[in-house]
């Protein structure tokens, strides 16, 4: 583990469930590390692979893609579509030399504020162990 390394995380959260769960974590004053920045999307199925790749290119150390559970979707089957996107992305990330744990896929319902805080805590722990994204150094060297 790298001393003093604070991973940078972007979380794509669906408006109906996980964004609301993060709000609930807030209203319940559940503290978690300030390493995450949330980008609101309407549905987890809206997350384009390009958003994830651009974020890694920009140097983030980890990405969370989170939305409703399979049965709670506001748009019927968004989580299924999101799973497909994330599974495809994993192959690309593998080729790019990015560890699996840098991309986390979760389903966090509006009522699961505790789970949201827990996921962020775990991600920060995992990423601290992994260290900074190798992709960042690579793109900087190539630039």
């Amino acid at each position: 583990m790298m001393a003093g390394f604070e991973p940078q995380i972007i979380a794509f959260c669906c408006n109906w469930c996980t964004y609301a769960a993060a709000d609930l974590a807030g209203t319940s004053r559940m503290h978690y590390p300030p390493n995450v920045r949330i980008v609101r999307v309407m549905c987890s199925g809206m997350v384009d692979p390009i958003y994830v790749l651009k974020a890694f290119e920009g140097g983030v150390d980890g990405i969370l893609v989170a939305g409703c559970h399979l049965t709670d979707c506001h748009y019927i089957d968004g989580p299924v579509k999101c799973d497909e996107t994330v599974n495809k992305l994993r192959e690309v990330l593998h080729v790019l030399g990015l560890e699996d744990k840098r991309l986390r896929r979760e389903m966090v319902a509006a009522s699961e504020g505790v789970l949201f805080a827990q996921v962020i805590n775990e991600m920060v722990e995992d990423l601290k162990k992994l260290g900074p994204s190798p992709f960042k150094a690579k793109t900087e060297a190539l630039a």
Partner: protein, 662 residues
């Protein structure tokens, strides 16, 4: 292109943001961002003076983009969109940064929280640069309302709406409306008879020209959205001809097949063909197909009811041929009032429910004290002995980490009611075992005081167990309540003839499924989740779907009725407006790049895009009334021809790249 002129407004939210985030530093930082012409901080941006700041700047400084950094957009994005609109801009030229729920409330390191706030504001400023003016659309709202659940909540909501001459479909799963309230004997603290106040309302519902009652029915499927829901209801086969049954009850009298009566909480029997209770609405019979020998033997056995039914309502055809019917309804709004289940105390073995005959639940005791109940209102043991002493155990399954952490809100009061009735009807010695006495409603504390004066013994402590193992002569033949008495500081044993367990109210066992059908989330305790616990208590995250009564949380009758009327008010205000505003953030096709490959058509769950031929070439065309703006089409589009308005690639990538700057 016009020059982008952005105003940024940082809200202190009193000290809830300003106590953690350095708002002065943040404001100064925002002013340094590209295209920002003004940046201000204010104690409460959502207040009128706060909003006036924005409107004034739009006019005087020529702003054409606005960012407010405050609470969650789920709270105040609509407020500030309206502000911006009032100031003369399109409401979509606005972006919201969440620095309260996602920052000041979850982080305590001031420096890091301020840094995070700067990132969020920067991302909002870069995103709003790409925002475009969008137009919302109005569609007509279907004024018909669907109410699910014929308990007191559903009935009240249905009556309020129907009294305004609006059509209501009231769907009830059981053969009669009435719900749990119909099973209650008397209501606290006024002790008025539950049936006496409920049955006139049931009659009103049954006869109302604007209410269509669908009893013995369940909603199977809901599609569409606010203003235009399409609903499939399964009307279960009653195995009688509803139009002919006159409710004479001869069939039930002669039917030889018996089972436990649901209405009597299992304390009495009903027949295979039955009317659930005397005041049932509709007052017509229903056949329990699993129990009916005629149906089970395919017409070879019994058939007594057929011979007896002069009205011709029960025939071999109705018994053998009648099947469930699917009814399709179209409504604009939905109210879900599906109620609660009573906690089954047999999962607490030390309380001896189901093991000892005279350990009862509250609902069973309600039937005992009821003059129309199985004991005709006499408080007696199962073998008919008079009851001289009664133990009432509070918080059974409630306020208990092993079962439900929440307080069920009604048990203290119904426990006190039982104490009063036991004194009045049986002159019994009463022992109330409670943890805390919670008497919060109108007249409740006074009732508690009155009971203390009536000579009820209050024991403050949690009951450890209920046993029939006597240790003294006095305990012989009795149930012994073994409890801690925290006021005496010791364990006590109280021998009694009967024990009533004040069982918790819990979420319906099928609440998960009902939640899925209506797209309502649930809390960790299983009850339905309201949109905002304080400020939007009957709305759900699904527009046009409201909740009322105990399906949302345990509550007493006055609160249930108030909530039902609130939900009805929500539906009525929509009906009164007559239209629904459709989301502007939907997909749009750039026909110049579209190849008409049809990937969007394949992936869409709402069949919004369709490939059509325009000017001899194939292009995708989006039906705006069907598109919900989920964005899945944009993800699969190989050419980038489809974009979701307000969630375009440019907008999200601007946000992402701003967040990776730092």
């Amino acid at each position: 292109m016009e020059e982008i002129r952005t105003g940024v407004y940082i809200c202190h939210c009193g000290l809830t943001i300003a106590g953690v985030v350095n708002v002065e530093e943040l404001t100064e930082y925002a002013e340094s961002l590209p295209n920002v012409v003004v940046s201000r901080e204010y104690r409460y941006m959502c207040s009128d003076p706060g909003q006036d700041l924005i409107k004034k700047d739009i006019k005087e400084l020529g702003l054409n983009r606005v960012v407010v950094a405050s609470c969650s957009p789920r709270m105040h994005e609509p407020t500030f969109r309206k502000t911006v609109e009032d100031g003369g801009l399109n409401p979509y030229l606005y972006e919201h940064a969440n620095i309260r729920e996602h920052c000041s409330w979850v982080h305590d390191d001031k420096e890091l929280a301020t840094k995070k706030s700067k990132d969020l504001v920067r991302a909002a400023v870069k995103r709003v640069f790409h925002h475009e003016s969008l137009v919302t659309r109005e569609i007509p709202l279907n004024p018909n309302v669907l109410v699910i659940g014929g308990g007191i909540a559903g009935m009240q909501a249905a009556l309020d709406i129907a009294d305004g001459h609006n059509k209501v479909y009231l769907v009830e799963r059981d053969p009669s409306i009435g719900g749990h309230m119909a099973q209650l004997d008397r209501t606290f603290p006024t002790l008025d008879c539950s049936e006496c106040i409920l049955t006139p309302k049931m009659g009103d519902v049954g006869h109302h020209p604007f209410i269509e009652l669908l009893t013995y029915s369940e909603v199977e499927e809901v599609s569409g959205s606010i203003g235009d829901f399409k609903v499939k209801v399964r009307k279960k086969a009653r195995h009688i001809d509803e139009s002919k049954c006159i409710g004479c009850n001869l069939c039930e009298e002669k039917c030889p097949w018996k089972t436990d009566s649901e209405f009597e909480a299992g304390m009495a029997k009903r027949k295979a063909v039955y009317i659930p209770f005397a005041q049932a609405i509709p007052n017509i019979a229903v056949v329990d197909a699993d129990l009916c020998a005629y149906i089970q033997s395919d017409g070879k056995k019994c058939g007594a009811c057929i011979k007896l039914c002069d009205a011709g309502a029960i025939t071999p055809e109705t018994l053998l041929k009648q099947t469930d019917e699917i009814v399709e309804l179209e409504v604009g709004t939905i109210i879900v009032a599906t109620g609660y289940d009573q906690f089954d105390p047999s999962v607490i073995p030390q309380y001896g429910y189901k093991k000892y005959d005279n350990v009862l639940t509250g609902l069973e005791f309600e039937r005992i004290t009821c003059a129309a109940g199985p004991t005709e209102g006499k408080i007696v043991t199962k073998d008919g002995r008079p009851v001289e002493s009664i133990g009432i155990v509070h918080c059974v399954g409630s306020r208990d980490e092993n079962y439900h952490e929440y307080c069920s809100r009604v048990c203290c009061m119904y426990g006190l009611k039982y104490a009063h009735l036991s004194k009045e009807m049986a002159n019994a010695d009463v022992y109330e075992f409670y943890i805390d006495m919670r008497c919060f409603g109108e007249g409740y504390e006074e009732f508690y005081k009155r009971l203390s004066e009536e000579g009820v013994n209050f024991v403050r402590g949690k009951v450890a167990r209920i046993t029939d193992e006597a240790q003294t002569d006095e305990e012989q033949g009795k149930l012994i309540v073994v409890s801690e008495d925290t006021l005496l500081g010791k364990m006590i044993r109280v021998p009694v003839d009967m024990v009533i367990l004040c069982s918790a109210l819990e979420a319906r066992s099928d609440a998960e499924n009902v939640g899925k059908v209506f797209n309502i989330n649930r809390r960790a305790d299983g009850f339905f989740l309201e949109r905002h616990v304080k400020l939007d208590p009957v709305a759900t995250p699904t527009d046009g779907v409201y909740i009322a009564g105990c399906c949302e949380a345990p509550r007493d009758i006055p609160d249930t009725v108030a909530q039902a009327e609130a939900a009805a008010g929500k539906a009525l205000s929509l009906i009164s407006k007559g239209t629904v505003t459709l989301e502007a953030a939907i997909s749009t096709v750039d026909e110049a790049i579209c190849h008409g490959c049809g990937r969007c058509e394949e992936i869409c769950a709402f069949s919004a895009p369709n490939v059509v031929t325009k000017n001899g070439t194939l292009v995708s065309s989006v039906n705006e009334a069907l598109c919900k703006g989920c964005g899945s089409c944009a993800v699969v589009c190989p050419t980038g021809a489809i974009a979701i308005k307000h969630f375009t690639q440019d907008e999200i990538l601007a946000q992402v790249s701003a967040l990776t700057e730092a």
